[in-house]
């Protein structure tokens, strides 16, 4: 889930919860405020009536209050009711204030009722003053409905604002990811440009990435220099030896049997230098020291390789079945590397083929891209070795006589460099097929 969405959802939920809490508490709060208000009014009224009774007598008070002993004003939802009490002094009920169901006539109404006993003419009376509660209920529903509406509106608006705000805030982050991490293939092409942001964390991230890339760039340069130095350090002594041996062989004073031994040494030396150059080639490709700035057509590149191998094909009387129906152009490729790739595969197909064998080349476009197959009729590769043939550090048992050398690791490295998938299948004593899948 996107951080943007997560934050928006979190904000919406938290706001909804706060509003829900307010929606639940507010009616209670309103109720208590209103009750308090009613109570104050009831108390004031009680005090007023008691005062009037004291001053002007009960009848006078009733008259003045414009109410009877049992008066109910339906519009004001209020009543004043005075009961005579037939009790002794000790049993006089206490004054109270509470919500009660009160029956007036044939009606039962819920009222806030204040009860106050008083003595008049040596007779106990109970003064009941009631005020209606229905307004409170109405108020409560109104407030609930209102809060619900406000809640929905606030949540919706806040989600939109949050999404917009988070998107704006995350913009530098997305820029950092796309400019500095995704689109960078090679640390050497990295430019430490500062992405402007007011968010501390992103600034921190940006700086950290710049720092890391600088370190990687330095390491890369060191690695490139190392490869360059290694090639110089290893190939120069070989060069000296080779030229010295050449001079010894060329010298007419050198006895023939010595020459023969030296030529054997030259072969070993040549093998050593080929191994070094192959390893250097692999590491240079892996370090992206080759450019991919050419568009290379598969068909013509294969033809070049076949042409170069013609004498080897003739020598083994190998027929080439050229069934490349569709051509394919690898955009952003390195021609000399792809040439090496095809050369190595074809060379292997010749080397491990039988006398008078066949090499079948098929190439066609399909829904996934382009598929090229190079099939030979050679000795095949044992299943247990199939997974290892591309591994430059895996060597097969010497007794198997199946050393494939560095040709296939080079093929694999070049293929990876060009995003070509290589796979192999083989039936021992029938042949081996290499499949290259180019994505369009």
């Amino acid at each position: 889930m996107k951080l943007q969405l997560k934050l928006a959802i979190y904000n919406a939920i938290s706001k909804a919860l706060i509003i829900l809490a307010i929606g639940l508490i507010l009616p209670l709060l309103v109720e208590s405020v209103v009750l308090n208000h009613i109570d104050k009014r009831l108390e004031a009224r009680r005090d007023l009536i008691l005062k009037k009774i004291k001053l002007g007598g009960l009848d006078q008070a009733i008259l003045e209050e414009d109410c009877s002993f049992d008066d109910y004003n339906i519009f004001k939802e209020e009543f004043i009711h005075i009961d005579g009490l037939n009790v002794s002094f000790n049993n006089v009920p206490k004054s109270s204030i509470a919500i009660e169901d009160w029956s007036i006539g044939d009606q039962v109404v819920t009222e806030r009722v204040i009860k106050q006993p008083f003595i008049y003419d040596n007779q106990w009376y109970m003064l009941n003053i009631g005020e209606g509660m229905s307004t409170i209920g109405q108020l409560k529903t109104t407030i609930s409905k209102f809060t619900l509406l406000v809640m929905v509106i606030v949540v919706l608006v806040s989600i939109f604002i949050d999404i917009a705000f988070v998107r704006l805030t995350l913009k530098p982050f997305n820029l950092i990811v796309s400019n500095k991490l995704k689109n960078i293939k090679d640390p050497t092409s990295f430019t430490p440009q500062v992405i402007s942001t007011s968010t501390f964390e992103f600034k921190h991230l940006d700086e950290s990435i710049n720092e890391m890339m600088k370190k990687m760039k330095d390491l890369f340069t060191v690695e490139k220099e190392f490869i360059s130095n290694v090639s110089h350090e290893l190939l120069t002594p070989i060069s000296i030896l080779q030229n010295r041996l050449e001079n010894i062989v060329a010298d007419s004073k050198t006895p023939e049997e010595v020459s023969i031994k030296i030529i054997e040494s030259q072969k070993t030396l040549s093998r050593l230098s080929r191994i070094i150059r192959a390893l250097l080639l692999i590491s240079k490709i892996e370090n992206e020291q080759y450019l991919k700035d050419e568009a290379v057509a598969v068909r013509s590149t294969i033809n070049e390789a076949i042409h170069e191998l013609e004498d080897r094909l003739d020598e083994k009387k190998i027929a080439v079945v050229f069934d490349i129906r569709d051509d394919f152009t690898v955009q952003r490729a390195n021609h000399s590397l792809l040439h090496i790739l095809f050369f190595n595969l074809l060379n292997n197909a010749i080397k491990y083929n039988k006398q008078g064998g066949k090499i079948t080349l098929t190439g066609q476009l399909n829904s996934e891209g382009y598929m090229l197959e190079i099939a030979d009729t050679g000795c095949g590769i044992q299943a247990k070795h199939l997974t290892d043939i591309f591994d430059r550090f895996k060597r097969f048992n010497a007794e198997d006589k199946n050393s494939y050398g560095l040709g296939l690791p080079i093929v694999k490295t070049i293929a990876n460099f060009h995003h070509i998938a290589v796979s192999v299948r083989s039936v021992p004593d029938e042949g081996t097929t290499f499949t290259l899948k180019f994505t369009a």
């Binding site: 090639s231 060069s239 000296i240 001079n247 060329a250 150059r277 080079i410």
Partner: protein, 224 residues
């Protein structure tokens, strides 16, 4: 012809010197860039064999300096650095050829030979080997007026042997010449035998070729 060998590795420049002196060149050596730069400025060389990895100088700078000073020496870059763009850069700066170390001295010689041929624009550029006449320019070979049909590799092989006539060339040297930089560590130089066999067969149809000599255990030699 005068050759300046610019190479900081003394043993290597010594071996090159021995070989080229044996081939009739006058050799001069420089072990660092400063002395090379001076020597190129003072003397006139037909060839400068230039190592790019000098301790005090970028090899390319020497090349630039010499080209700016209008020296018409031919430059062959010798390098073990193995940068892909070195070759392109060197040739762009006006170098005549490029050899990656380790290289064969015979190969160096044949490259120098080719440059000389190119430079002096030799119109008639033929090698006569007994009854056969090789036209190096047009890459044809004739025997008593009849043309002999050779493949590219067979022609190259014969030409290389003829260039180093009366000298044994090993299978390794021959295969490196016609195959170039094949990165096969168990490279099979016995393919050369097949080529020689075919070459002999094609030539014998016109005239005897006892001048192509097999030196047992070593290689081949063309005597004329």
């Amino acid at each position: 012809m005068n050759v300046l060998i610019v190479e900081d590795e003394k043993s290597l420049s010594h071996e090159i010197e021995i070989f080229l002196t044996g081939q009739g060149y006058n050799c001069d050596v420089a072990f660092n860039g400063r002395s090379a730069s001076e020597k190129i400025f003072v003397n006139s060389y037909d060839f400068v064999l230039l190592d790019l990895g000098l301790p005090d100088y970028n090899g390319f700078d020497i090349l630039k300096e010499a080209k700016d000073a209008n020296r018409d020496s031919s430059f062959i870059i010798l390098t073990a650095r193995g940068h892909t763009d070195d070759k392109i850069k060197g040739l762009d700066l006006g170098a005549d050829d490029y050899l990656a170390k380790p290289f064969s001295l015979m190969e160096l010689h044949s490259r120098m030979h080719a440059i000389t041929r190119r430079k002096h624009g030799l119109k008639v550029n033929t090698i006569t080997i007994h009854d056969f006449i090789m036209d190096v320019q047009n890459r044809t070979i004739h025997c008593k007026g009849a043309s002999v049909n050779l493949t590219k590799k067979e022609f190259d092989l014969l030409h290389y042997l003829a260039l180093h006539k009366n000298r044994v060339l090993t299978r390794m040297q021959l295969s490196e010449h016609i195959w170039g930089d094949v990165l096969e560590e168990d490279f099979d130089s016995n393919y050369i035998d097949v080529h020689i066999k075919n070459l002999r067969k094609k030539l014998t149809a016109h005239a005897p070729v006892d001048w192509i000599e097999t030196v047992r255990g070593i290689g081949y030699r063309v005597n004329f």
